[in-house]
């Protein structure tokens, strides 16, 4: 039934659709934050400290009397920005290294694959924290560090795709006709290997959002007064006995966002990958 309504299989996949709706709603809220937010997210109001959720403050206020709903909206901007930029960096590095490795093979492949192995054997969270210890924590450093420590999966995916595509007839035909390396890579190999990369990028945003909120929660991510879901939760921890709303809302926001990206990613994988699609039909 549903499949007839939509032409593209990705749209017919209910999981992907739910994920897509969640993500677009949160993105809209984040983009329109200045229009929606009822208060200035950083405005301190000493007469409104730790107020329960009410008509005036939908999600209550924090220990400095700031409106939690407004801070949540601006926090959404940070979470999504960090997630998307970090994954952009990781995907960029992954595509370049994976393409070099899979296309040229030989010593370049050996070196790049060993580098992947090395990066995979250093506990990621330790690596991220160590780098942050040497730099200063800021939103830009967080994005760069998460990006630089999460490109290994994409590299392996692109390399595997390139290795198998290189042996296909259409690539050989093009090569025989005298196509140069650049043309082969950008016109034939890359476009045909993007499907798994898109899926892994969407799933990557989910884990980047989790890492960023974890770092901010530990005080090593986005720094106050800039709002992020992670650092609202840090306040929540402090006031957990008096102000449940400070913990509940950011936690739920992270949960829903990550769930949205995971649903979208898994749904896309099911819809775009003929192998698992066949598996489901059986």
């Amino acid at each position: 039934m549903m499949r007839r309504l939509f032409k593209h299989p990705a749209l017919a996949n209910p999981l992907a659709m739910v994920g897509f709706i969640i993500i677009t709603s949160i993105m809209l809220l984040a983009l329109l934050a200045p229009l929606i937010a009822p208060y200035d997210p950083n405005a301190i109001d000493v007469k409104a400290i730790l107020l329960e959720p009410s008509a005036a403050h939908w999600m209550g206020t924090d220990g400095l009397g700031r409106d939690v709903f407004s801070r949540m909206l601006y926090g959404a901007r940070i979470s999504l920005l960090v997630g998307i930029v970090a994954v952009g960096i990781a995907t960029g590095i992954g595509i370049v290294l994976g393409a070099l490795s899979g296309y040229y093979r030989g010593w370049m492949d050996v070196v790049i694959m060993r580098l992947v192995d090395v990066m995979l054997s250093i506990p990621t969270f330790f690596l991220i924290l160590a780098v942050i210890a040497f730099l200063t924590p800021s939103i830009w450093n967080i994005m760069i560090v998460i990006g630089l420590t999460s490109w290994m999966g994409v590299t392996r995916l692109v390399r595997a795709e390139f290795l198998s595509l290189r042996e296909r007839e259409f690539v050989m035909a093009s090569q025989t006709l005298g196509a140069k390396d650049g043309r082969l890579i950008f016109l034939h190999l890359l476009p045909n290997s993007l499907t798994p990369v898109i899926v892994s990028s969407v799933l990557g945003v989910a884990s980047a959002v989790l890492v960023e909120s974890g770092l901010s929660f530990l005080g090593l991510g986005v720094q106050a007064p800039q709002a992020s879901w992670g650092n609202i939760l840090t306040d929540g921890k402090e006031y957990i006995q008096f102000a449940w709303w400070l913990s509940l809302f950011p936690g739920l926001a992270i949960l829903i966002t990550v769930l949205g990206y995971n649903l979208l990613g898994e749904g896309l994988r099911d819809a775009l990958d003929p192998r698992t699609a066949g598996n489901q039909a059986r």
Binding site: S121, I122, P123, F126, T136, L220, P250, I254, N262
Partner: protein, 339 residues
């Protein structure tokens, strides 16, 4: 088997060199001298501590010499002493000329983190295996749907948030479980059974938190692995020759579906070690994660570099063990047919 072991050990050499390079790079990542950066964000950094940094990482020597000395530190597992006021050795105990033994920081923290990880892995196996099997056997029916929902939530739930909520609910509201530390105050006077029970009570929440995302991942993995295997021809053959369904599922299918799990466990070690930072720092468990977090906050560089190296070495060791276990379990790998 011996030949396989030697081959695997040989493969670890380039990885160790790579790890030494990456960690060396991190040390020099800070713009300029790490001593000046430290001073930049830590006004308390005295000339004395800068001098110590220069000494420990030989920052006044040429870069190649510095790297050689860093390699030497890694090879001898001597990561110097902590910058904290106790000045304890980073890795293992040392005896000073007066005969006083000071315990190594990692020496004390590592067993605790290993205990948490072993318990987490046990919980993961005990819960994720049945979930995955049930899910595969009831594909697309209500039990499978419910388990899949649980898996997605397990992936998405921020561990530190759940930790916070559970801590509040079981510790503050109901006081069922202790919410911080490893032992109760009366620990020393307890019977050994009481000691075990006390430690387990303290570890219940941290173990639950650190096993949650692994649990979801492994359940999904077992489900998909079982589905793959159940659709293979030899399963149809087994059914066709009239074997009982239980024999088909548990003897023929499950065994093959579980093989790749060994590798997955090997691969999940860096995540478990790294993930210990959040669980341990929330519940104040004095393991590697908390040690590392405190070191990062204090910019205690010798401890940071020591844990980074030891953590990576443990990961390599875990992967090696996983590969050996795989070779032991699957004769095709051992004889070099696969891989």
């Amino acid at each position: 088997m011996i030949k396989y072991l030697l081959k695997r050990l040989f493969w670890m050499v380039p990885l160790l060199v790579g790890i030494s390079l990456v960690s060396f790079l991190i040390m020099h990542l800070a713009p300029g001298d790490i001593t000046t950066t430290e001073a930049g964000f830590n006004p308390k950094a005295s000339e004395e501590s800068r001098q110590k940094l220069r000494e420990i990482y030989n920052l006044d020597k040429p870069i190649t010499v510095q790297y050689g000395l860093w390699l030497n530190r890694m090879a001898t597992l001597d990561f110097g002493t902590s910058f904290a006021s106790h000045q304890r050795p980073v890795f293992w105990e040392k005896t000073d000329p007066q005969g006083n033994v000071s315990k190594g920081l990692i020496q004390e923290a590592l067993p605790i983190t290993l205990l948490i990880n072993v318990l987490s892995l046990t919980v993961i196996i005990a819960v994720a295996l049945p979930l995955g099997i049930v899910s595969a056997l009831t594909q697309n029916r209500p039990p499978d749907r419910a388990i899949t929902l649980f898996v997605f939530i397990g992936f998405a739930i921020p561990g530190f948030w759940l930790a916070l909520v559970l801590m509040y609910w079981t510790g503050v509201v109901n006081s069922w479980l202790p919410i911080s530390g490893l032992h109760s105050l009366q620990y020393d006077q307890m019977h050994w059974l009481g000691k075990v029970a006390d430690t387990l009570r303290h570890l219940a929440l941290p173990v639950f938190i650190s096993s949650l995302s692994g649990l979801a991942g492994i359940a999904l993995f077992v489900r998909n692995g079982m589905l793959d295997v159940l659709h293979q021809d030899y399963i149809t053959t087994a059914r066709a020759k009239g074997l009982p369904e239980n024999t088909v599922v548990y003897r023929h299918a499950l065994r093959n579906a579980l093989l790749p799990l060994i590798t997955i466990f090997g691969l999940s070690i860096p995540g478990l070690i790294g993930g210990s930072v959040i669980a341990e720092s929330i519940f104040a468990i004095p393991g590697m994660g908390k040690l590392f977090y405190d070191a990062v906050l204090m910019r205690d560089f010798p401890v940071i570099m020591g844990i980074l190296t030891i953590g990576s070495a443990l990961t390599l060791l875990g992967n090696l063990l996983a590969d050996l276990a795989y070779a032991w379990a699957d004769p095709r790998v051992r004889r070099g047919v696969l891989k």
